[in-house]
């Protein structure tokens, strides 16, 4: 088959009907543009929403929990006998929440090449004292640099400098909602009462807004050292170790492994936040469905135009066949027409899609719950461009396939004699 000849015939048929061709190509361009803009926007939104929870959630969290012993003393004593023990009214024993040997655990984790980062944390409950009122709340002691690196802490600090938490002694960053309730400005001191009854004064160095309003009303952060001081504990006191993995999918498996290895409780992100993934996957599915529908509609446009072209050009097809072009040559001519509409329209669509995404990216979008957000979120993932490109080629191929097959089956005798 002489590709150059076939292509030149396809080209002149295209040029001869350039208006129709343009309409078909514009259809493809439009659908690809919308496909890209829609998916980029949706993906941007997904990343943002997931980020609110998932970015701040460790992939695996190691901690201790107040719980009843799984092995009661009497079971140990009876372990070799064929007997049942009936124990009633089991109570959890007093167990300190401190992670023992935390320094060694963190050193071991940092050496594990599946782990991308480790951040210690102390969770504690306090009362914030404002005048005669005590507000219940929580303080997390964090290592602010690690927390920023792994969980983007600094993005949520909307006022003040997050590093002051480390640099200023006895400092605190309050949740925005809590700060409003306490009427505390940056530079003010707030009083907190610890669970052990000690009253401490802390200097406010910033506010954070997590995007989860209820959390911001009760929560604040101190440095690890300040929290240890607050609780009157030694500098080895840590209640949680947060682990970020290189591959999030490994979390359930590694959580079990660490739990056994370090003899602590461990929870993975999938167990803790299963609903988030469901949400994003359904949103993605819907945007794909809309995008593919647009493309299929454009495909029908191409199908129609090719069909019309074949009716108009049926004599030319007949004479081509009479003078020695085979069915597969004719087939190739129309497939080339369809594909060039698809590739041309698709390529423009990719450009316009990128342009439209960039425009959406500039539209201001301010919301109280998401302080780090200034404009609509848009993802520029190359994946969507590749998918759109493949889709445009596949749809136009199929839109061309049926008319082309019809053209290839034209019987020259009927056309020529019918005149």
């Amino acid at each position: 088959m002489n590709i150059k000849l076939i292509a030149s015939i396809a080209k002149s048929l295209l040029v001869a009907r350039w208006k129709q061709t343009l309409v078909a190509a514009v259809g493809v361009t439009f659908s690809i543009t919308m496909f890209i803009a829609l998916l980029s926007f949706m993906a941007g939104l997904n990343e943002l929403l997931d980020g609110i929870m998932l970015n701040r959630t460790p992939h695996v969290r190691l901690y201790n929990e107040v719980a009843a012993s799984k092995m009661q003393p009497i079971q140990k004593a009876h372990s070799n006998q064929n007997s049942y023990d009936f124990i009633r009214s089991i109570k959890p024993k007093h167990k300190v929440l401190v992670l023992r040997n935390s320094k060694a655990i963190m050193t071991a984790l940092r050496k594990d090449n599946r782990v991308s980062g480790v951040a210690p944390k102390i969770m504690t409950q306090v009362f914030y004292n404002v005048g005669a009122v005590d507000l219940m709340g929580t303080i997390d002691g964090i290592e602010v640099e690690q927390e920023s690196k792994l969980f983007l802490y600094k993005d949520y600090v909307t006022a003040g400098n997050y590093l002051d938490l480390k640099n200023v002694a006895n400092s605190i960053i309050l949740g925005k909602g809590l700060a409003d309730k306490l009427l505390a400005d940056i530079g003010d001191n707030v009083q907190v009462t610890t669970s052990k009854g000690e009253r401490v004064s802390l200097k406010v160095v910033g506010y954070f807004e997590s995007g989860i309003l209820e959390l911001d009303k009760v929560h604040s952060n101190c440095s690890i050292e300040t929290t240890q001081k607050l609780l009157g504990e030694s500098n080895t006191y840590i209640t949680d170790i947060q682990i970020k993995l290189k591959d999030m999918a490994l979390a359930p498996q590694l959580s079990k492994e660490y739990s056994q290895l370090f003899e602590v409780e461990a929870i993975d992100i999938q167990a803790a936040n299963a609903q988030f993934e469901t949400g994003s996957s359904i949103r993605t599915l819907i945007s794909y469905a809309v995008g593919v529908t647009l493309l299929i509609v454009a495909g029908f446009g191409i199908y129609n135009i090719l069909n019309m072209m074949i009716y108009e050009k049926i004599e030319s097809i007949a004479i081509l066949k009479a003078t020695g072009f085979s069915g597969s040559d004719v087939n190739a001519i129309f497939i080339i027409i369809a594909l060039s509409i698809g590739i041309f329209g698709g390529a423009l669509g990719l450009l316009f899609g990128f342009g439209l995404s960039a425009i959406i990216d500039q539209i201001p979008f301010l919301t109280a719950s998401l302080p780090s957000l200034k404009t609509y979120p848009v993802s520029y993932n190359l994946k969507y461009y590749v998918i759109a490109c493949l889709f445009s080629i596949v749809t136009t191929y199929f839109a061309g396939y049926f008319p082309a097959r019809k053209a290839s089956k034209v019987d020259p005798v009927i056309i020529i004699r019918g005149k």
Partner: protein, 226 residues
């Protein structure tokens, strides 16, 4: 006679829709190289049907067809297309030129499809054929800018671009006035006598037939005189 270029052996054809009608019965004849043959008969006697079978475009028949002593039965569609491209030139009642192309490109198309020569060579050959037919001045015009007679001459040029073994014509002068008919006939005659081109022309124009070298007459699907 010299060697045969086209031979029909016991060709039979039926139309089955709506009722079975026998259109061709036991067609046997052969055409030798260099002959200028007219196939005549009354309307509906089956001469066009026979021509389309001989041209390999219609494959729904019984019997055997040999072109250049090779049987066309059992050949696949693409192979038949190749035979038509290489060995047969067509001139129809209607010119069937492609309006999108220039006259030159129209003539070149079957040559380019054959692929035996480079594009430059095919172009030179096409110009040469146009010159033989005395229409080389029209080469760069679009096909739809020509008159009926000119178009038919371009169609003849297209038919001879690959130096076919045989040219088949289906009422090639049927759409033309007397003057243009004469021009086209003279061209055929020139091809036959000067270039030893084999021609098989279906016509019901008796005066056209009389001027050829040999007349095959058909009636009711049978050959009554060869």
């Amino acid at each position: 006679m010299s060697d045969t270029i086209l031979e029909a052996r016991k060709i039979n054809k039926n139309f089955n829709d709506p009722v079975k009608v026998k259109v061709l019965t036991d067609i046997n004849f052969s055409i030798a190289k260099g002959e200028f043959v007219a196939l005549t008969g009354k309307s509906g006697c089956g001469k066009s049907t026979l021509l389309y079978i001989l041209s390999t475009m219609d494959t729904d028949y019984e019997g055997e067809l040999l072109i250049d002593e090779i049987s066309m039965v059992e050949k696949k569609e693409a192979e038949l297309a190749k035979v038509r491209n290489e060995k047969i030139g067509f001139v129809f009642q209607f010119h069937y030129l492609l309006d999108e192309f220039t006259v030159l490109k129209n003539v070149m198309l079957p040559g380019l499809k054959l692929g035996a020569f480079s594009e430059k060579q095919v172009e030179a050959r096409a110009m040469e054929k146009l010159k033989i037919l005395d229409i080389d001045k029209l080469a760069m015009k679009k096909a739809n800018q020509l008159s009926g007679g000119e178009k038919q001459r371009v169609a003849i040029a297209r038919a001879i671009i690959n130096d076919p073994d045989i040219i088949m014509g289906d009422e090639p002068t049927g759409n033309l006035d007397k003057k243009n008919s004469d021009i086209v006939f003279d061209l055929f005659k020139k091809l036959a006598e000067e270039l030893k081109q084999t021609l098989l022309i279906v016509t019901h124009d008796q005066s056209f037939a009389d001027r050829t070298h040999r007349i095959i007459t058909m009636a009711d699907g049978k050959i009554i005189k060869t």
